[in-house]
């Protein structure tokens, strides 16, 4: 190859691009400690820890947090079951309509959220379904399927078919093969997919505004605070919680799917 070193211009552009992606989020942390609650004055006039206590004691934060956790947990479970089933079918055989199925799974996140939201809203109106926790879950599970599916299908692809045949040759039936061979190999990928789905559901707001009615999830609570701010630093404290709730699963998912070498038969 002509040269294996990147030009300084490229290095600067790539570094600046990454800095552009990361620096803004840090400001959220800074503003959680500011003493100024009426504006976003920079630099903050003083630093304080009191907003964490204030946020803890605000009664209007806990119900949305609880609702978000419930929705994310149930949606993730549904998505994990459905996503794994599709991934297993896709890995098992090539069948007619395979491409259409993969497109159908991808569509809910490839099309703008406003379409999914508005579509669900129309459907609830046409069939007269009142808003409830379940209308939120219906939407969330739908766009979470693809996340679990992507993780599972990648692992299926690396999993060598020979191990399943070997299991059958050794006298295991399909269910034993599933329990002893398939699941242990898929486990970490499913866990990773589930964590990403949880993170996605936990802070989803675009679809949720259409399917929640009068209910308030944590992101919807944040959205109303953004439009009509009250104690601004409290919003920052909640934002830090949201960042932590999504950051940790994402990091865990990364480490769970990082070493592909440990999958059985992957060397083939």
């Amino acid at each position: 190859m002509p040269s294996e070193r990147a030009s300084p211009g490229l290095k600067i552009a790539a570094g600046a691009g990454l800095a552009f992606l990361h620096l803004p989020i840090l400001l959220i942390f800074l503003y959680a400690f500011t003493t100024e609650e009426k504006s976003y004055q920079f630099p903050p006039p003083g630093l304080t820890l009191k907003w964490f206590a204030v946020a803890w004691n605000r009664a209007d934060i806990w119900p949305p947090l609880w609702l978000s956790l419930q929705v994310a947990a149930v949606s993730t479970l549904i998505a994990m079951v459905l996503g794994t089933l599709v991934a297993a079918a896709m890995a098992q055989s090539r069948f007619f309509g395979r491409e259409q199925v993969s497109l159908l799974i991808l569509l809910p996140i490839a099309l703008p959220g406003v379409i999914t939201g508005m579509a669900l809203r129309s459907a609830f109106s046409v069939v007269d379904i009142p808003f409830s926790v379940w209308t939120i879950i219906l939407g969330h599970a739908t766009f979470c399927i693809v996340i679990v599916y992507n993780n599972a299908v990648a692992r299926f692809r690396r999993l060598h078919g020979g191990v399943l045949e070997a299991s059958a040759d050794l006298g295991a039936n399909g269910f034993q093969t599933f329990g002893y061979v398939l699941l242990p190999n898929l486990g970490s990928a499913l866990l990773a997919g589930g964590m990403l789905a949880f993170a996605l559901s936990f802070d989803e707001v675009i679809v949720t505004t259409f399917t929640a009615g009068q209910q308030s999830t944590l992101p919807i609570w944040m959205l109303t605070e953004l439009v009509r701010p009250r104690q601004r630093p409290v919003t920052n404290v909640v934002a830090i919680v949201v960042v932590a709730m999504t950051f940790l699963p994402i990091l865990a998912a990364y480490y769970l799917t990082r070493d592909g070498e440990h999958t059985a038969g992957a060397g083939k």
Binding site: A6, Y31, R258
Partner: protein
């Protein structure tokens, strides 16, 4: 003693029998696996899209404000009113500008990660792209509200650098500004780029990684400079992947309605129009018709992307 009987294990119960059925008829297993997810997606998702389409062919009674469930094209005709066309055009222009700008910012990151980053650095780049992409959407938008606020860090930096008057004059320009960056169209644009650009990087990087090294060696052997090799070998080969990467950025910008609601001069975009018509205005049919617009635009975009070979690159 050797037996002539084939080595068949005795059946141990229903689990074995089912296994045998699946083995003889693989289609049965396939149908069993696919039925629940397809039922869900078919009913919940496609069903909803059908309801959306249906709703868009209804109209609203101007006097009672109730939805009239009869087939009509009246609602679609409303889309062609000047103020509604304005919304569509503004959204489309914004999506195109955001996609092009994102490509310019994303390309160096993807290029560096694909061609020069190795080992630890490669992992770092991957995380460096994944973390912002996955972190909370609202938190990211909120961060920019802090940054662009009149009393915020941008103003502070501009004043420190002696560019305060320059920023003030720019904000006075009609197309550029508002009372502060966080209420200006430029602010909306910056935040759109920030939020939807990361979706472009990984597909771009994958496309660049697929350009075979041997071709670059051949280009060098034939006397091409680095610039020539880049323009005549790397770029044409990676283009389908770049277009594939742009699909998400373009599509998600097209429908976003939270960003223009929080940052900008409250000029309306398609997503915002959908949200307002279904909410406060109570005009579900017009909201549905507006939601069909991005679907149609995306179909055209996908058709073009397919022509450019983007789908083989995904």
């Amino acid at each position: 003693m050797l037996s002539d009987a084939p080595a068949v294990l005795p059946e141990r119960g229903p689990a074995d029998r089912l296994t045998a059925v699946f083995w003889r008829h693989p289609r049965v297993l396939l149908v069993l696996l696919l039925t629940p997810p397809l039922l869900w997606l078919g009913v919940v998702y496609l069903g909803s899209l059908a309801a959306l389409l249906l709703q868009s062919f209804y109209s609203i009674d101007e006097f009672s404000g109730l939805v009239v469930p009869e087939f009509t094209l009246k609602t679609y005709a409303e889309l062609f009113r000047a103020q509604n066309l304005d919304i569509i055009l503004r959204t489309l222009t914004m999506a195109v500008l955001v996609t092009l700008t994102s490509a310019v910012i994303a390309f160096p990151i993807a290029y560096f990660a694909a061609r020069f980053a190795r080992g630890r650095w490669k992992a770092l780049f991957y995380l460096g792209v994944m973390l912002p992409l996955w972190s909370s959407y609202l938190v990211k938008v909120y961060a920019w509200k802090l940054i662009l606020a009149r009393e915020g860090i941008v103003t502070w930096l501009a004043e420190r650098a002696g560019a305060g008057p320059l920023l003030g004059r720019a904000l006075d320009e009609q197309w550029f500004g508002g009372s502060s960056l966080s209420t200006s169209p430029v602010g909306t644009f910056i935040v759109f780029v920030y939020i939807w650009m990361p979706y472009m990087i990984l597909p771009m990087q994958a496309a660049l990684e697929r350009v075979p090294g041997s071709m670059l060696e051949a280009a060098a052997d034939l006397g091409a400079s680095r610039g020539q090799a880049f323009r005549t070998v790397i770029l044409p080969l990676a283009l389908p992947g770049i277009v594939a990467g742009s699909i998400f950025t373009f599509s998600l910008t097209l429908g976003d309605y939270i960003i223009p609601q929080i940052i900008g001069n409250s000029a309306r975009f398609i997503g915002l129009a959908v949200y307002q018509f279904q909410g406060t205005a109570g005009n579900l049919p017009l909201a549905a018709a507006f939601a069909v617009v991005p679907i149609v635009i995306m179909l055209v975009y996908l058709a073009i992307a397919k022509r450019l070979g983007a789908f083989d690159a995904l």
